[in-house]
């Protein structure tokens, strides 16, 4: 018994904090209740908000109607004016990019060289080992931003427009040896060809050619009927 007494006096017994089960349970319940009250407190539901109108994807440019040229009495002047208006389409990047001066198409409104490097090949639809159809298919593809059309190809080199004046382009168009088209075929190409029509539906963020293909075709038709005059 002595050793027990000595032991007690040598190491005084610590008093431990004792918490019963019920207070512990009460604390847990209180925490849960407070958390639930905070999480489930009544709040206003999000209300629908009007979405700001999206800015137009591209600039819309209009063409003058054929009727608006009727006031020009002089036939030659009217013909020149009609072609000048049509020239806004002809010299638009959507058209010029596929009428390059060399074997390489250009891209964008800045008409920079096509990326990746491609060449027209023997049929204007790409090299046999890197066809246009490697990337371009029958329709614009929004997922990749790659434009497309079933007839996707370059204009023949004889119809190179880039670097030429509108007058030179005009004379080139009227020369079947270079355009490979008589006037009826030329009108059809401008007014109805679906690849030309792509210029008004280029997809993505590309700016379309001014007006519509129908308006452009009407201008070309009126120009041909008025003598098909070319600017100097």
């Amino acid at each position: 018994m002595r050793w027990r007494r000595r032991s007690r006096s040598a190491t005084p017994r610590r008093r431990r904090l004792r918490i019963g089960c019920l207070p512990l349970l009460a604390i847990i319940v209180a925490v849960v209740v407070v958390t639930a009250v905070i999480a489930l407190r009544p709040r206003a539901l999000p209300q629908p908000e009007p979405i700001a109108a999206a800015p137009p994807k591209s600039k819309v440019a209009h063409l003058r109607s054929v009727v608006s040229f009727a006031s020009i009495g002089d036939a030659e002047a009217r013909s020149l004016a009609l072609f000048a208006e049509a020239g806004r389409v002809i010299q638009h990047p959507r058209c010029m990019n596929c009428h390059p001066r060399n074997d390489r198409p250009t891209q964008t409104d800045a008409m920079r060289a096509h990326i990746p490097w491609v060449a027209r090949g023997p049929d204007d639809a790409g090299e046999p080992t890197l066809r246009c159809s490697t990337c371009h298919h029958a329709a614009n593809f929004e997922a990749s931003g790659v434009p497309g059309n079933p007839k996707w190809k370059l204009a023949p080199i004889e119809m190179a427009w880039q670097g030429k004046s509108l007058g030179d382009i005009c004379r080139q168009m009227l020369d079947p040896a270079r355009s490979h088209m008589d006037r009826a075929a030329l009108l059809h190409h401008m007014a109805q060809d679906e690849l030309v029509g792509w210029a008004w539906h280029p997809g993505g963020k590309r700016n379309p050619a001014p007006g519509t293909q129908a308006e452009f075709g009407a201008l070309i038709k009126a120009w041909l009927e008025s003598g098909a005059r070319c600017p100097a």
Binding site: T129, L130, H136, S144, G145
Partner: protein, 158 residues
């Protein structure tokens, strides 16, 4: 919508939106991950596959346009050209990071099928759409020349 795809000789019924890029069908649905996503805008060539024998960028090919075609990916490209290129690739230790290499091989196979003995210019014209961020272009060109001259290539066996 449902589309029938024939990939590497096997027919698949794909239930996806027709505007889904074929690349995602190959990688996510069919788990053919050898075809790589590089840029998604047909600028780099990492996703090149063969569609009816023609090299195409699968990132810019909608599923609905590929339906009904014979599609071959890097996992199954075969033949004398593919064998010769594979051997030359190993011999020259062409890849560095390797990410673009499946697209490079697919374009190179298509090139050798059209031009069995290509010149440097032929190679540049065919391969210009395949970008390599490690700039292994010299080794790629050398390996294509090696493959064209190898005993197993069609040019030397013909």
């Amino acid at each position: 919508m449902s589309y029938q795809l024939v990939v590497n000789g096997r027919a698949h019924r794909i239930e996806e939106d027709g505007q889904t890029p074929l690349l995602w069908v190959l990688r996510d649905t069919l788990h053919l991950t050898g075809t790589k996503y590089g840029c998604g805008i047909a600028q780099c060539g990492a996703c090149t596959i063969h569609v009816d024998g023609q090299p195409m960028r699968s990132c810019s090919l909608p599923l609905e346009a590929a339906a009904g075609s014979q599609i071959v990916t890097i996992e199954a490209v075969a033949g004398a050209e593919a064998d010769a290129l594979r051997a030359a690739w190993v011999e020259r230790d062409v890849p560095q990071c390797g990410f673009c290499q499946s697209g490079q091989i697919m374009s190179a196979v298509a090139l050798l099928r059209v031009k069995s003995i290509p010149t440097d210019d032929d190679i540049d014209r065919a391969m210009s759409g395949n970008i390599c961020r490690c700039a292994t272009y010299n080794r790629i060109r050398a390996a294509i020349h090696d493959a064209a001259r190898s005993p197993s290539s069609p040019a030397t066996t013909a």
